[in-house]
């Protein structure tokens, strides 16, 4: 049975004690444990990790979860690689300094965890600093069936069933007036790539990172060509050092977990996970009116 718990912590000492206890308990029971925390929080847990090494796998959430869509696939791979059940995962997806867009994606991710691992024998603990904004803490209570607060576990009265954050239905902001825009169909994927490369290049994206970003935009545009009624459209712009592409079409993505779970039939599901690996943030909104995918990378 899956448990998905938010740990609300006020101090580093509380953090080390509660996460440490959760990890140690898992190790004592012989359960595989994956710890994905921002790097400086992993450092706080060094003594716990030294005592349990090498039984606990770790990852820096600032890399793994920079794009929160990568977290569920990472848990999935960990479970696949460690068939012994039950297993444990500690994931801290929101920290001070995350942008509003990143926080929304992390919240969508947290809600989807309740769907993605329903029935999988994995216990998931998500630390939240009580110093985070009230709105973030309220969403944490809505996205977790259980809360741990001052070392006491209790069910979350605010838990929202269904595993879908209302953020998923909030439309993305329209592209700014200065964005470069193109409508495209199958024969115009080359134009999509050239426009993306031009704007991203102007914003300072270079070499491998430019190639990777063009590949990501091309892949999402290809999905629009394949699955939606033409024309689809692309808008590309940069804001500060962020390079942003928005690809819109009239199709609908029925499954909110699209791209996050195992590769689809016949290996055809590889495009979106690849995009998630190549971009710093991937935002997908899909309604009856259509689907918008927004891909962001840092330039420079």
């Amino acid at each position: 049975m899956t448990a998905h718990l938010a740990l609300l912590y006020a101090t580093d000492a509380e953090y080390v004690e509660a996460v440490g206890a959760f990890v140690r308990e898992g190790v004592e029971r012989g359960e595989p444990v994956l710890l994905a925390l921002p790097g400086e929080r992993l450092a706080l847990l060094r003594s716990v990790l030294d005592a349990t090494a090498p039984a606990v796998a770790t990852a820096d959430m600032r890399d793994l979860g920079r794009n929160p869509r990568r977290i569920i696939p990472a848990i999935r791979s960990f479970l696949d690689a460690h068939p012994r059940r039950p297993a444990r995962f500690v994931g801290e997806p929101i920290w001070d300094g995350r942008t509003a867009a990143e926080i929304h994606e992390a919240e969508i991710h947290e809600a989807l965890l309740n769907r993605a691992f329903a029935g999988a024998e994995v216990t998931i603990l998500c630390p939240y600093s009580t110093g985070l904004a009230d709105g973030v803490l309220a969403e944490a209570a809505a996205n977790h069936p259980g809360l741990i607060d001052a070392s006491r576990a209790r069910p979350s009265r605010e838990y929202r069933e269904g595993g879908l954050s209302p953020r998923y239905h909030e439309p993305l902001a329209r592209p700014p007036a200065g964005a470069a825009v193109i409508d495209f169909g199958l024969p115009m994927l080359g134009d999509v790539r050239r426009l993306t490369a031009r704007v991203a290049g102007e914003a300072g994206l270079r070499d491998d990172r430019l190639d990777d970003y063009v590949l990501a935009v091309n892949e999402v545009a290809t999905n629009s060509v394949r699955h939606a009624t033409p024309p689809a459209s692309l808008a590309v712009w940069h804001a500060g050092d962020l390079i942003v592409s928005q690809i819109s079409d009239g199709g609908r993505l029925a499954d909110p977990l699209v791209g996050r779970l195992a590769n689809g039939e016949g290996g055809r599901g590889r495009g979106l996970p690849l995009v998630d690996r190549l971009c710093d943030l991937v935002e997908i909104r899909s309604t009856d009116e259509g689907t918008t995918v927004q891909l962001t990378v840092r330039g420079g």
Binding site: D208, V225, G267
Partner: protein, 278 residues
């Protein structure tokens, strides 16, 4: 590539057209250059013998070249039999011999203009014919020969795939007429911008390359001209590698870094595929 001129020995050109007038103009220009260069010429089309000669009415010196043996004309069914019937291996060996004979007879080489639309009137025939075109690539790369293959874009099937397996193509409808998988003097070449529009063509071309691969050797491909490749085309490479004999690999040489990353992230455990920067 608007006019059929500037071609020489070693070239293998896919010339798409919209009907006889366009084709004849291209073929005559192409053969005329070969005549001036002292090459033996062969003209093939799905026409009765007299009509073949009529096609070449605009070729200077036509009758004298016919009399001297410099110019040969053959109806398509004399060369290829009916659709789907001919043996590609036999056919290309005959071309090799004709190229050798041309040189033995004192010509600089052998130049072929063949209108082949009648052989590719359905998808299956066209995909099978791509294997023959890949075999012709290799004969041309190794012989004093060139060939221009005509396809009527209104009737031929899989024109994109047929263009894809020729080193040169005038296919104005293709977003990147330079995209292709074919053979040149150095071996297999993968080049251009490859995306969803040519993923099917790439899969067909690779199936043929795999089918005739030596089970005792890797399949080497020069990818230095690759300017873009998407996930759909990468999948075709992965599937081709997996279809090779056990222990054999599709080796992509001088490959751009983005392809290496794409394959590592998308197919971390792909067997039979190696990507090299050099």
């Amino acid at each position: 590539m608007g006019t059929a001129s500037g071609f020489g020995l070693g070239d293998h050109i896919c010339w798409t057209h919209r009907g006889r007038r366009e084709w004849v103009a291209a073929a005559v220009a192409y053969l005329h250059e070969g005549a001036d260069a002292g090459e033996r010429l062969l003209y093939v089309a799905d026409r009765p013998p007299q009509a073949l000669l009529d096609d070449l009415a605009g070729l200077p010196g036509r009758d004298a070249m016919l009399a001297s043996g410099q110019l040969l004309v053959l109806p398509l069914d004399r060369v290829y039999g009916g659709s789907g019937e001919f043996d590609a291996g036999v056919r290309v060996r005959e071309y090799e011999k004709m190229a050798r004979d041309a040189v033995a007879d004192g010509y600089r080489g052998f130049r072929l203009a063949a209108e082949a639309t009648s052989l590719v009137l359905d998808d299956a025939d066209a995909r099978a014919f791509a294997a023959y075109e890949l075999a012709v690539d290799r004969v041309i790369a190794a012989s004093p020969m060139s060939a221009m293959c005509g396809y009527d874009i209104r009737r031929a099937h899989e024109v994109e795939t047929l263009g894809f397996v020729h080193p040169l193509c005038n296919h104005a409808a293709a977003p990147d007429p330079g995209a292709g998988f074919y053979a040149d003097a150095g071996g297999w070449v993968l080049t251009g911008e490859l995306d969803l529009i040519n993923a099917g063509s790439l899969a067909v071309a690779l199936q043929h390359a795999v089918a005739e691969a030596d089970p005792d050797a890797d399949v080497q491909v020069d990818a230095s001209g690759l300017r873009f490749i998407d996930v759909a085309c990468a999948r075709a490479l992965v599937e081709a590698g997996a279809a090779l004999a056990p222990g054999r690999s599709l080796v992509l040489r001088r490959s751009p870094g983005v392809l290496e990353r794409l394959l590592r992230l998308g197919w971390p455990d792909a067997a039979g595929l190696a990507v090299r920067a050099r």
